[in-house]
C-alpha cells in the first residue's frame, strides 16, 4: 500500500517536471537561436548567409576585414568606448557625492532636495528630447563629444540607489573620523567610497551598458561620422548596404557581432552582479 502510493505520487510528479523541462528547453532555443544565428552569420559568405545552413561551411573573416577596412567601424567602437567610460566614471563620482550629502549630511532643505531629485526619475529622456536638443544646441555642444557626454551624466537613478545604500552604513564610523578632525571630503573619499565598492561595481556595469547601447541621443546630436557611436554607425551601415534591396547581410551580422560582443562579455563576467542590481532596483522602488 505504502509503496503503491509512493509510485503513484512519483508517476504524478514526474510527467509535470518533464513537461516543464521540455518547455524550458524550447524557450531556451527561442531565446538563444537568434544570437547563435547572428554570431555564425558573421563568418558566412554573402551567399551562404541567405541560405538556411546553420554552421558556415567555409568560415571566413572577410566580413570583419570589410567592417574594419571599408567602414570606420573601429573608430565607432572607440568613440562608444570613450563616451561610455567617461560618462560612467564621472557620473558615479557626481552621483556618489550627491548621495553622500543626501544620506549622511544634515542640512536645511534636505528632504526637499531629495524629493526634487527623485521626481526627475519620472521624466523619461525621449519626452524631453526636443527641448534638450535646443538647450544643447544653445550651449554649442552639438556634433562634439561634450554633446554626447554631458547630458548623459545626469540621471537620478544612480543617486537614488547610492543613497539607499549609504543610509545603511553605521553612523559611528564617520562620527569617529569627524572627531579625529576629518573634513567631510575626507570622510567621503576615504571612508564612504571604499565601503561602497560593491554597489559602485553594479552601477558601473549598468551605466556602461546603457551608454554603449544608447541610440536616439547620439543619432540626433552627432552629424559628423567621425564622432558616430557604434550603434549609430551600425545603423548607418545598414542603410548603406541595403540600398536597392540587395542587402549584404553578412557585413551587417559581422558588425552586429562586434557591437554586441563587449556587452555580452561584460554580461558573462558580471552576470550575478547585474541580476542583483536589477532585482534591487525592481524591489526597492
Amino acid at each position: 500500500m505504502a509503496t503503491e502510493t509512493l509510485v503513484r505520487t512519483r508517476r504524478k510528479m514526474r510527467p509535470a517536471t518533464v513537461a516543464q523541462f521540455v518547455v524550458a528547453v524550447l524557450v531556451a532555443i527561442f531565446a538563444l537561436f537568434p544570437l547563435l544565428w547572428l554570431f555564425t552569420g558573421g563568418f558566412k559568405t554573402q551567399t551562404e548567409a541567405s541560405t538556411g545552413a546553420f554552421w558556415p561551411a567555409h568560415p571566413t573573416l572577410d566580413n570583419f576585414v570589410f567592417i574594419f577596412t571599408q567602414v570606420p567601424f573601429l573608430r565607432y567602437m572607440l568613440n562608444s568606448f570613450f563616451v561610455s567610460a567617461i560618462v560612467t566614471v564621472v557620473a558615479l563620482l557626481f552621483h556618489s557625492m550627491a548621495a553622500y550629502a543626501l544620506a549622511r549630511l544634515r542640512f536645511r532643505g534636505r528632504d526637499t532636495v531629495f524629493v526634487l531629485v527623485f521626481s526627475t526619475l519620472l521624466v523619461t529622456a525621449p519626452v524631453i528630447l526636443i527641448p534638450l536638443f535646443v538647450i544643447v544646441r544653445e550651449l554649442h555642444m552639438l556634433n562634439n563629444y561634450a554633446g554626447l557626454i554631458v547630458p548623459a551624466l545626469f540621471n537620478a537613478f544612480g543617486i537614488f540607489l547610492l543613497r539607499q545604500y549609504y543610509i545603511t552604513i553605521p553612523k559611528e564610523l564617520e562620527e569617529a573620523a569627524i572627531v579625529d578632525g576629518c573634513g567631510h571630503w575626507r570622510v567621503y573619499w576615504h571612508l564612504i567610497l571604499p565601503l561602497s565598492r560593491p554597489i559602485l561595481a553594479s552601477l558601473t556595469v549598468f551605466f556602461f551598458l546603457a551608454n554603449w547601447n544608447a541610440f536616439i541621443w547620439p543619432l540626433i546630436v552627432i552629424a559628423d561620422d567621425k564622432l558616430f557611436t557604434v550603434q549609430v554607425g551600425l545603423q548607418l551601415l545598414q542603410d548603406q548596404v541595403t540600398v536597392g534591396g540587395g542587402a549584404n547581410w553578412s557585413y551587417l551580422l559581422a558588425g552586429s557581432t562586434l557591437t554586441a560582443l563587449p556587452t555580452m562579455i561584460m554580461f558573462f563576467i558580471l552576470q550575478r552582479r547585474l541580476v542583483e542590481s536589477i532585482k534591487t532596483s525592481g524591489l526597492k522602488s
Binding site: 531556451a28 557625492m97 528630447l129
Partner: protein, 316 residues
C-alpha cells in the same frame, strides 16, 4: 524644516572644536552638502528640469527654419487633432501598449514561475532567457530583420516546413506591428523575469506549506498566495514596461521598420522624432510630447489604482 535634525546636537556649539573658526558644525555641514550636491543638482536642473518646462513652452510656438519662433498659443494642440497621421499614430501607440504590456507581463511571469521550479539546469535556463536583454536594441532589431526577411529569412524557411507560405513580416501593414511587439517581448522577457523571480522568491515558503496541508491545488496556490503577494513587484513591472512601451520604442521602430509600412508601426515617440528632426517642427513635436506625458500619467494612474499602488498586507 528637516525633521531629522536632532536639536541637541545641532545647537551645541562646543561640538565645533575643529575647522574654521566662526562656522558652527551645522553651518560647515550645510556648506559641504551644497558643494557635494552642486554638480548633480546643476546638471539635473539644466538637462532635465529646464527641458521639462521648456517642453511645454516650446509647444506654444511654431518653429520655422532655424531659430524663427512664432507664438501660436494652443495652435499646435488644435493641429494635433486635425492631423490624420497623428490620429493613426495615437491608435498604433495604444494598440502597441495594450498588447505589449500585458503580453510581455504574462510571458515574463510564466518564465519566472518556470525557472522558480527545481528543474535540472535551471541556472542555464535563467541565463539563456536573460541573454537577449544584454544586447542593444539596434543589434536585436537587425538580427530579427534578417531572420524575418521575406526571401532569405530563416523564419519563413522554418514555417515552410509546416506548409506555411512566406510572409512579409515587416513589409505587410497588417503584420508589422504585431511582429514588432513579438520582437520586443523577446528582448524584454528575461529582464522582467528576473524582477518577477525576485518577487516570487520573497514570498515566505510557509504559506505554500500551509496550503499543501489544506490540499490546495496549484491554481488556488497561485490565486490566493502568489498573485496577491506578488502585487508590489507586478506593479513595478507593469509601470516600468508601460513607460518603456510609450517612450522607449524608438530604437526598435527606427531600425526595424522606420515607422512603416504605410505608417502601420509609427508610434508617437517615432512621430515626435519625425516631426522634430526630419521636418524641423520643434514646436509641433513638443506639443505631441506633452500629449504623450498626459497619456503616460493616465496609464500610470490606472496601473496604480488597479494594483492599489502595489500595497499588500501579509495578514490577508
Amino acid at each position: 524644516m528637516t525633521t531629522s535634525v536632532a536639536p541637541h546636537v545641532s545647537r551645541t556649539k562646543t561640538v565645533a572644536t575643529q575647522g574654521k573658526p566662526g562656522l558652527s558644525r551645522k553651518q560647515r555641514e550645510g556648506w559641504a552638502a551644497a558643494l557635494f550636491l552642486a554638480p548633480d543638482v546643476i546638471g539635473l536642473t539644466v538637462f532635465v528640469g529646464i527641458p521639462m518646462i521648456l517642453s511645454f513652452v516650446l509647444s506654444l510656438f511654431q518653429v520655422s527654419g532655424f531659430g524663427q519662433y512664432d507664438f501660436v498659443g494652443f495652435g499646435n494642440y488644435q493641429r494635433i487633432f486635425a492631423d490624420p497621421v497623428f490620429m493613426s499614430s495615437l491608435r498604433t501607440t495604444l494598440i502597441y501598449v495594450f498588447v505589449l504590456v500585458p503580453g510581455g507581463f504574462v510571458v515574463s511571469l510564466l518564465l519566472a514561475l518556470l525557472v522558480k521550479q527545481k528543474l535540472p539546469g535551471v541556472g542555464f535556463f535563467r541565463t539563456a532567457y536573460f541573454l537577449p536583454f544584454s544586447i542593444s536594441i539596434v543589434v536585436v532589431a537587425l538580427i530579427w530583420r534578417f531572420m524575418l526577411d521575406e526571401q532569405v529569412g530563416v523564419v519563413n524557411q522554418f514555417l515552410g516546413w509546416f506548409g506555411i507560405p512566406p510572409q512579409a513580416w515587416l513589409g505587410n501593414p497588417n503584420l508589422a506591428l504585431g511582429t514588432a511587439i513579438a520582437v520586443t517581448i523577446w528582448v524584454q522577457m528575461g529582464y522582467y523575469m528576473v524582477i518577477l523571480l525576485g518577487g516570487l522568491q520573497d514570498i515566505p515558503l510557509e504559506y505554500y506549506e500551509a496550503a499543501r496541508i489544506d490540499g490546495a491545488s496549484a491554481w488556488s496556490n497561485f490565486r490566493h498566495i502568489t498573485w496577491p503577494l506578488l502585487k508590489p513587484t507586478s506593479f513595478f513591472v507593469l509601470l516600468t514596461s508601460t513607460v518603456a512601451a510609450l517612450t522607449g520604442a524608438f530604437d526598435m521602430i527606427y531600425v526595424l521598420t522606420k515607422g512603416g509600412p504605410a505608417n502601420s508601426t509609427n508610434v508617437l515617440i517615432f512621430y515626435i522624432y519625425q516631426q522634430a528632426f526630419q521636418y524641423g517642427e520643434y514646436g509641433y513635436a513638443a506639443a505631441i510630447g506633452t500629449f504623450l506625458v498626459v497619456i503616460m500619467l493616465i496609464c500610470s494612474t490606472a496601473i496604480f489604482l488597479t494594483t492599489r499602488g502595489g500595497r499588500f498586507s501579509y495578514g490577508d
